[in-house]
Amino acid sequence: MSVTATSSLAVRGLAYAYPDGHQALFGVDLTIERGERVALLGPNGAGKTTLVLHLNGILTAGAGTVEVAGLPVAKRNLAEIRRRVGIVFQDPDDQLFMPTVREDVAFGPAAAGLRGAALETCVREALERVGMEAFADRAPHHLSFGQRRRVAVATVLAMHPEILVLDEPSSNLDPAARRELALILRDLDVTVLMVTHDLPYALELCPRSVVLSEGTVVADAPTQDLLLDEDLMRAHRLELPFGFDPRSVRVR
């Protein structure tokens, strides 16, 4: 895949070992073009979370580079990188740490220096994009799990990220909340990288999938082709839910 100047994300030769010596990534290459929605699949322990934490500079690469819209992830760029990369963590109770929804959504933009009416507008728009504008003054722990997940998405949308990174977006959601979130994610005009075990969800939302296994990218293909490749799936502990046939659905 060619790396263009407008790639939202360009990861080249990324390797990382934890301080205890455990090597989690062995030279990962991944390029995501602007506006793409890509699923990052892989068994537990494959290094998915480690990769995600490199995208906004929480972890520093042992070797290799990460660029977000052309800007290298490095200490001097951290503030801008963290604005450009919006990570939605798995547990919304970790993500939503302020007393009210409004303050939480405002946290990122305010940390970037936005104030007053501009901040207010930014918060309202972000909440509107996830259909939660009526809940601005509520406390996060008074919301349902699905609502909290949507607010968590709004907290990073408020920063107008170049790329939205979702860690297991469908986990713990009931089918209705799962569908509502899918509708929201589909309508966002933003690059999405979605880490998930939920293969039907990946098929529904992401035209392209990348499989990470034992710290390297072992497959990068259209999601439907990938899910139909039985040998690949078996080799990397990926399994479709009982009764689900990727051929049975029409992918938009």
């Binding site: 906004n56 990570i87 963590f89 109770d93 303050e103």
Partner: protein
């Protein structure tokens, strides 16, 4: 837990007191308490006057007496020992209903009870008219160390989350046939506390990660800049101002 208290204390109505900037109210309550404490205990009428002042504030704030009085019960354990003072203090004695009581002890008990009660009533009024997070904004505005404000903010946010975790652990224990009875089971409870601590600590790390990912650099961004007008300062000044007049009169008359 923290949030639970907030709901119990705060009274959600619209009143001139509710809309005042939180830092002004904090200053006013603090000044009021200082004035009350510095009043000579012999000026009994002065304390009645303070109570009337607080009653007036409650009336303007549309907080019913019942709301304030029931929430003042938290004071009871703290003043219990004041009741003992007339019995144990030395010096001149007097007879009340055939019981010998110390005069200085009676004055001491009255002093603690009156000043304590007025302080608690003022605090309850503050809490009834100001939301917890607004109070925190007020404290921030008054230059309380930001670290303390952040700790308090997280306490409000995560009190319920941690209480929920504790409840789930308790249900899991009981589902496996454990009921805490007697000293022999304290070990299990202690381990629960330890597990809860580790879980909370790990959550703390995850929350910090989420904060850093959104540009946290050690200081909380200022979300709303509340600026108090001169008129608002004048309005909150009425309570401590009136109290100060009462106090000075008390000193002159004693």
């Amino acid at each position: 837990m923290g949030a639970g208290h907030a709901h119990a204390l705060y009274r959600h109505v619209d009143s001139p007191v509710h809309t005042l900037p939180p830092h002004c109210k904090l200053v006013a309550v603090f000044a009021f308490v200082v004035v009350v404490v510095s009043t000579p205990r012999e000026a009994v009428w002065a304390f009645a006057a303070y109570a009337v002042l607080l009653g007036a504030v409650a009336y303007v704030a549309r907080v019913p007496a019942r709301h304030v009085l029931t929430r003042m019960l938290v004071e009871v354990p703290f003043v219990a020992f004041a009741v003992l003072m007339p019995f144990v203090a030395q010096g001149e004695q007097t007879k009340v209903l055939g019981v010998s009581l110390s005069v200085s002890g009676l004055w001491g008990a009255f002093n603690i009870l009156a000043k304590g009660t007025l302080g608690v009533a003022a605090s309850v009024l503050l809490a009834s008219t100001t939301e917890l997070r607004e109070l925190l904004h007020g404290l921030q505005k008054l230059r309380l160390p930001p670290l303390l404000v952040q700790i308090a903010t997280f306490m409000i946010r995560y009190g319920d989350v941690i209480a929920g975790e504790l409840k789930r652990m308790s249900i899991a224990r009981r589902s496996r046939g454990f009921e805490a009875r007697g000293v022999r089971h304290w070990g299990v409870l202690a381990k629960t506390a330890g597990a809860l601590f580790i879980r909370s600590y790990e959550r703390g790390e995850r929350v910090h990660l989420a904060m850093v990912s959104r540009g946290y650099t050690g200081v909380m961004p200022v979300l709303e800049e509340t600026v108090a007008t001169r008129a608002q300062w004048a309005r909150v000044g009425v309570l401590p101002g009136a109290a100060l007049l009462v106090c000075l009169t008390g000193w002159v008359m004693v």
